[in-house]
Symmetry: D2
Subunit: 312 residues, 4 copies
Amino acid sequence: MPSTSLFRGIIVPLVTPLAGRDQLDVPGLERLLERVIAGGVQGVFLLGTTGEAPSLTERLKRELVSQATAIVNHRIKVLVGITDTSLVDSIELAGFAAAERADAIVAAPPPYFPIHQADLRAYIEALAADCELPLFLYNMPSHSKVAFDVDTVRQLLHHPRIAGLKDSSGNMLYFNQIVQLAQERPSFHVFIGPEELLAESVLVGGRGGICGGANLYPELYVELYNAAAAGDLATIHKLQHRVLRLASKLYSVGDPPSGYLTGLKCALECVGVCSGRLAEPLRSLSAEKSASIKQHLLDLGLLDRQMTAVRA
Amino acid sequence: MPSTSLFRGIIVPLVTPLAGRDQLDVPGLERLLERVIAGGVQGVFLLGTTGEAPSLTERLKRELVSQATAIVNHRIKVLVGITDTSLVDSIELAGFAAAERADAIVAAPPPYFPIHQADLRAYIEALAADCELPLFLYNMPSHSKVAFDVDTVRQLLHHPRIAGLKDSSGNMLYFNQIVQLAQERPSFHVFIGPEELLAESVLVGGRGGICGGANLYPELYVELYNAAAAGDLATIHKLQHRVLRLASKLYSVGDPPSGYLTGLKCALECVGVCSGRLAEPLRSLSAEKSASIKQHLLDLGLLDRQMTAVRA
Amino acid sequence: MPSTSLFRGIIVPLVTPLAGRDQLDVPGLERLLERVIAGGVQGVFLLGTTGEAPSLTERLKRELVSQATAIVNHRIKVLVGITDTSLVDSIELAGFAAAERADAIVAAPPPYFPIHQADLRAYIEALAADCELPLFLYNMPSHSKVAFDVDTVRQLLHHPRIAGLKDSSGNMLYFNQIVQLAQERPSFHVFIGPEELLAESVLVGGRGGICGGANLYPELYVELYNAAAAGDLATIHKLQHRVLRLASKLYSVGDPPSGYLTGLKCALECVGVCSGRLAEPLRSLSAEKSASIKQHLLDLGLLDRQMTAVRA
Amino acid sequence: MPSTSLFRGIIVPLVTPLAGRDQLDVPGLERLLERVIAGGVQGVFLLGTTGEAPSLTERLKRELVSQATAIVNHRIKVLVGITDTSLVDSIELAGFAAAERADAIVAAPPPYFPIHQADLRAYIEALAADCELPLFLYNMPSHSKVAFDVDTVRQLLHHPRIAGLKDSSGNMLYFNQIVQLAQERPSFHVFIGPEELLAESVLVGGRGGICGGANLYPELYVELYNAAAAGDLATIHKLQHRVLRLASKLYSVGDPPSGYLTGLKCALECVGVCSGRLAEPLRSLSAEKSASIKQHLLDLGLLDRQMTAVRA
């Protein structure tokens, strides 16, 4: 099993650039990957919620994994989301990711049946038994309904194939308990999802963030992570303010609960990285709302800089 | 588009008999289908929640549709669930169902992103535009998180390809509103999910039930439907008591929230129809709990009769 | 303990007519009570959710109980809601109700702490131990957060001072289970809350309804109850349509979740019974919305008839 | 209006020591207040959730306010919770608190009707209009159902009588947004509820914590607050570990969701401060569980030290 010892810092939950229904935007993917690598991130997480994985076909998922691993070419880590309602499909995608030489896989609870924790634990053990890469648990109750309870994480903590947990619950009471647990096994990595909580999560012992905004502006999150890892509170306060401002500007233009994703993809189109197209059931922002995103990017000082960068 | 004018009465949300992981139990499927056809049901609904569709691979789903349509051979209606997190996968399965000459398709909201109603409506319209068979909406918020609001159903009511709605919410306030709506379009069929509500749903104007217990004991639900359709309250009370007793005995042995499904499959194994095996993330009942199901079947007078039937 | 053997039919969850903040509208109360008595109801339920009890002071609650019991003067049953976050306050109000010769008391779970079922059961037992009148349980999870689970009702079923349960959950799966339970103790009364479910609740074995609309139009609910008790399905369908139409017209003008109560009080003002004033935190409808209620009352044929009645 | 400019640091949400049903334990109250004053806290918050206010009679609430203000005698700040389902009762208690020369009042949304935000805002404005003391908003959605949305706080931010907000939601995404908002009005104080989040809340800009554990061990929380206010990360990590350990030991002995409160009161009895008695609907821990709390106190090194202190 490949080592996960260097997993820390910022991992980008990569959006999936789409040229059409069931059609990957390969040039957009390339621009996006080069952008985040240049921004200093430690890895990308393909096929997460931000990557709209559940909305994609198996075919497109595999094309994305192949293209992305080829483009990245081991310059940074590649994690592959394998969450699926079907265990067999998850295992097969995990095998494909291993064959493409990805670094790790990530699985949320299967998002249909509202199972209890004993079934969840058995499910994860069945999954881990048939997977080769290090497995990260993905706690995302707003989307997968079922959460990984603290006790369940405790029971899975020493499983040799389980490498850590990404917590997107936004519940810092939970996050703190998981961080405490992880002190029993230093190789168990705990990452935070919501970028607004990146700084404090690192201050209380987290390993880093898997933050959607890093698709757009990777340097900001990398610097914030570095400041938090160094305990540099003054820098944290300055950068945290920018993170919150970016989030409050870009993620609230579209209607909740998908405003984060529609805003992010629209912004990536505005700065010339890839199309703002989303996979059904999500839909792109209206022209009026897109104009509002563009204006916010200007206000945030992100548009000029980026367009120049992209044109160059 | 095939006519749906005869959809009424009992439709069985068929369990998917499994011989192993990703392996269909074809003899079990045949026994099960013959049993429910003999029991007088009007149709089967393949690949619903009771059929564990989200847990199955595309390959197994197609094998099931092919086998079931061949066995049924137009003796009763065949509805095929196409719910998926991916629109493209739903459309492809709908096309396969049409090619296998199924009678209708059934779709719940895509069960991952917590979308709002405007996106849900657009999603269903996109789905209907690319499907050939009559489409039933499937309201199942406990599993798909998102519900079809009454206003959304109103907006979809006259869509020529939408044939009705199955309501598994258990919320009779909602059901009554949908039945009232449907008076504006008599060809819009409203079915109830939970068998405990079958009788009252028909009394207030529903078209019938898609009731899991009919896998095990189809005659009971057919008789109850007939009594309700005829307004025969005395018979309703007698049969309703048996329906509630069966549900309270068999569906509460396994832990909630999946106790209904684990109990039902276990009971089908006990009476010799098919294996009690479930697809992950659900798991079969323990030996002790299976014995308890067997005892309940004896108490309910279902075991002897059925085993003889199966042996014959 | 007074007998509750005659509790069946329609009980009106009486609105509390208010002349100002912390000020009872006594003439309005008198008109309202005479109206519902003339309409043939079996009783009134003072100080329920429709009566805005939690928003009222102890002083006003007692004034209401005194005035209402005096006006009713045993012509119909009087039930008094004693739900409170404080057990001691509930017991004292129950004692007051007994002294004023009310017929029964009604208690929901205390609506602040999210307690578990064992604590709920102990709470109800402590309450019943210090109360003299027959006690009805009030299942209202949308407001009191905690529900009476079926098992808890089973454990309280044979308590000599507990007389029944009003179910306002809207969950007919639950209601059916409680009705089945109640067959073990015929003197345990099961009433439905939501008027849209009155007919079916009686058809499946309920004892009647505690229906808000009966403040406005008591005869409609009394007739519907009678039809349901007689199993007269044709009459049920005709009246049920009117009940649903009234609900859909009057209760959806105000914003949810309080649109039912704001619409009901506004309608009572429109027909000249009492002011539409609500106790904080609820607020009266705007002038525009009030006009819309008035138009709906005209469309429903309720305005002319009632205003004449009131003037007479 | 008294100044609130010195509100920062640790405020103890005081438990209400009870000698019996509706009976205050005055000697226990005195010991408790002296203990927390000696521990260095900035204030006490009477009649919050930890104080079981909703379960108490108006009479006992007033006795507590009188006794506590007399004992404290302006050595530290006294905040008084006025949350009630009845606005009039809240206003009257606020007036009483002012007459007893308390420093501020605290109000959660009225915890019965599930109101929308416009009604909540109007309610708070009505409350503030009739209150004399500075008012803190209390965000506690797990108990009061309704939350103060960020937009509602924005609209109330500059209200001259509103002094701040205590956030007990545990949602740091929300807390961060409120802290950002509060930068527009420096006199708007933002406090955190859950003690596990105290350190990070201060690091991101919070004013301090209203932490239940400070009833038992005030010095720990005062030191942790001081370390966080000074940005001393090493001390934070050491103390945070003790806070989490204390919480995980003491608050999980009783069943959720009230295990925090039953454990805290039991511990206070074990260390000799006051009785562990709770007001209905909560109940004291069993003898077995009390023994477990005692053992945990010994393990945490809290028992000897405290008993000596109390005896002295």
